[in-house]
Amino acid sequence: MLKKISWFFCSIIYCIIKFYKFFLSPWFQPSCRFDPTCSEYFQDALKEYGFLKGTYKGVIRLLRCHPIKWLGGSFGYDPIISKRKRHG
């Protein structure tokens, strides 16, 4: 049951990110400071950790994506490391 709820919320957020990536993101200059980008990272986090922890990880990553260092700004290669073996 809990798994189903988690899956449900995950897919909602996943769709929002998909929508953003496809329709909104191209309007702006490419500006993510990370690799993979925040939206990719968010999606991976949802897949890997489920709704609660995944959202938490994704939001934290977003909050780090700016140039102001003393507010936690950062950049670079920062993927979600998968414990499971995934294809595609």
Partner: protein
């Protein structure tokens, strides 16, 4: 990638747009036209059909005009600089209010806004205050005829007092005051000449006989509203028709709101009350105080309530919230989720308006300010984008080198960025922040009364409405009025064109299908925004032009440096 889904998404959204235009927009406009004609003929009531419920039976036949209804019984005139109306002595109801300084259409000769109406007509909408008694005590009701004791005409400097004697030893007095804006203060007093203990509970009630024509747009709430102990309660007419809602608290206010106008009853703050939203012979909003006032022997009790009837002007609403200490009265204006952005933006625009005297120019100034604020970040990102262009060959080489290893490519890229110190892009945060600003401008244009009928230059007579011109009749050259979804004005087209140019200046999305769909976006948004407030389209167009200008300057500058 999932190209099928993308095509499906585009197809579906286009379909939704078309369906929305034909089934919701057109009938709405027809309905409005129809209603306009009806008002011209006579103000005959229309049969209530909403939700399949029948019209509640009210004592008198309802086929009378507003004018006739107003002739029925004695009245006391109310007038200040903003309101004109009267109080009917039968029932002591405020049931006739016209908001003087606003008109129904942009035509200055059109009718002023008639807001409250006598109860006998279908659009009946009125406010009362009174007492509920415990036990068998005669208290005044809607049919009690009051006598005018003091005053002649209710104005800001001249309150009036009404009196009603229950002939059983109780005398009811009602003192009504009004300020120069939209606030009434009613002091109900009871004097007893008889022995024995009597318990009375003060109440106030708003009644609206039928659901008004509402815009029914999700973006602004129209219906029953209130704040009870800091919690905002918003209920639609349809919900209340189905079920009653009850609240209790000791602070706040209750009312019925339209997009720009509102009637609200405000209990004495700090006293506990029970409040209800219900449908019974019309929509009712009421509260009753829980602590009774005891009356015994030669005693006088009294209770005060405030009533707001009028236009939701931002500064007026805020001043009542502060000066009259009405808890969270500012929420009467539906600022929405982005309250903390929308409201400051409004104040900024209002400040510019006071400087230049035109809301359109004020919006343009706002665009400039928003640009300046995010300039440092945008500058950052534009600059690095220009630098990226210089690094293009190197990046292509890396891509070619690690063609079969996506991960390796990305890591190498990052290494390249670090080496060349180009990475510091502005990041995702600044971009995510721009979306709420845009939404806040939209909300502000849609919700605040200050934008209503605010003119810009030329053909834009109302910034809160869509650009009325249309390319399909060559902007008025051909005597033909196209259907709603074909009204695509000059400003939306300007917006589309500037967006197209801006798009050409930005890098194309990596996915080819996405790039193709993206090319259609300026066209799609032109069509979509054509029905949005003209002020928003002006904002967007000017914003596009400024972005382009900035981008062009930066590109030029970096080119000079590198060559």
């Amino acid at each position: 990638m999932d190209n099928k889904n993308v095509i499906l998404a585009v197809f579906l959204s286009t379909l939704i747009l078309l369906v929305w235009a034909t089934y919701f927009e057109d009938p709405k406009i027809k309905e409005k036209r129809f209603e306009g004609e009806k008002n011209k003929q006579t103000q005959v009531t229309k049969p209530e059909t909403a939700g399949g419920t029948s019209v509640p039976k009210i004592d008198a036949p309802k086929i009378i005009t507003r004018v006739d209804a107003l002739k029925d019984g004695e009245r006391v005139v109310i007038e200040n600089n903003n309101l004109l109306g009267s109080i009917v002595l039968r029932g002591a109801l405020i049931d006739d209010i016209t908001i003087k300084n606003y008109r129904e259409t942009i035509d200055q000769k059109s009718k002023q806004i008639t807001y409250l109406n006598p109860k006998k007509i279908n659009e009946g909408y009125f406010v009362e205050t009174g007492w509920a008694a415990k036990g068998n005590v005669k208290v005044p009701d809607n049919n009690s005829v009051w006598q005018l004791r003091e005053g002649k005409k209710l104005t800001p400097n001249a309150p009036i007092t009404l009196e009603w004697n229950n002939r059983e030893g109780l005398i009811f007095l009602k003192k009504i005051e009004v300020d120069d804006k939209f606030l009434f203060k009613i002091t109900d007093t009871v004097r007893s000449d008889r022995s024995g203990n009597i318990e009375l509970f003060p109440y106030s009630q708003i009644t609206r006989n039928s659901k008004p024509t509402i815009e029914g747009f999700y973006i602004s709430h129209e219906g029953l509203i209130g704040v009870v102990n800091k919690n905002l309660k918003e209920e639609s007419y349809d919900t209340i028709q189905k079920e009653k809602k009850a609240f209790s608290g000791n602070n706040g206010w209750l009312g019925i709101t339209d997009k720009y106008w509102m009637t609200s009853i405000i209990p004495e703050q700090g006293k506990s009350f029970n409040a209800e939203f219900l449908f019974k012979d019309g929509f009712k909003v009421n509260y009753i105080l829980l602590d009774s006032l005891q009356l015994g022997g030669q005693k006088i009790i009294s209770s005060t309530s405030k009533i707001f009837i009028g236009a939701k002007e931002v500064h007026v609403i805020d001043s009542y919230s502060e000066k009259e200490k009405i808890e969270r009265f500012d929420l009467a204006i539906d600022w929405g989720w982005f309250y903390f952005i929308t409201k400051p933006l409004f104040f900024l625009i209002d400040y510019f308006f006071k400087l230049v005297g035109n809301f359109g120019v004020a919006i343009i100034l706002l665009t400039v300010v928003v640009r300046i604020v995010i300039y440092p970040l945008a500058d950052y990102s534009f600059k690095s984008m220009a630098k990226m262009k210089v690094l293009q060959p190197e990046m292509l080489r890396i891509k070619e080198l690690y063609k079969n290893d996506v991960k390796k490519t990305q890591t190498e890229m990052m290494a390249l960025y670090k080496r060349e110190k180009v990475n510091p892009l502005s990041g995702c945060i600044p971009i995510i922040l721009q979306i709420p600003i845009f939404f806040a401008v939209y909300k502000m244009l849609f919700v605040t009364i200050e934008m209503r009928h605010a003119p810009f230059f030329g053909w834009i007579k109302d910034l809160s409405a869509a650009d009325p011109t249309s390319i399909f009749n060559l902007f008025g050259l051909i005597p033909w009025s196209p259907p709603t979804f074909l009204i695509i004005g000059v400003w939306p087209i300007l917006m589309g064109v500037t967006m197209y140019i801006q798009q050409k200046l930005s890098p194309a999305p990596p996915d080819p299908i996405q790039a193709k769909i993206f090319a259609f976006f300026p066209l799609m948004l032109t069509i979509l925004l054509a029905s949005f407030p003209a002020g928003l389209v002006v904002y967007w167009t000017v914003s596009n032009v400024l972005t382009m200008l900035q981008q062009w300057i930066i590109l030029k500058r970096t080119k000079v440096k590198t060559v």
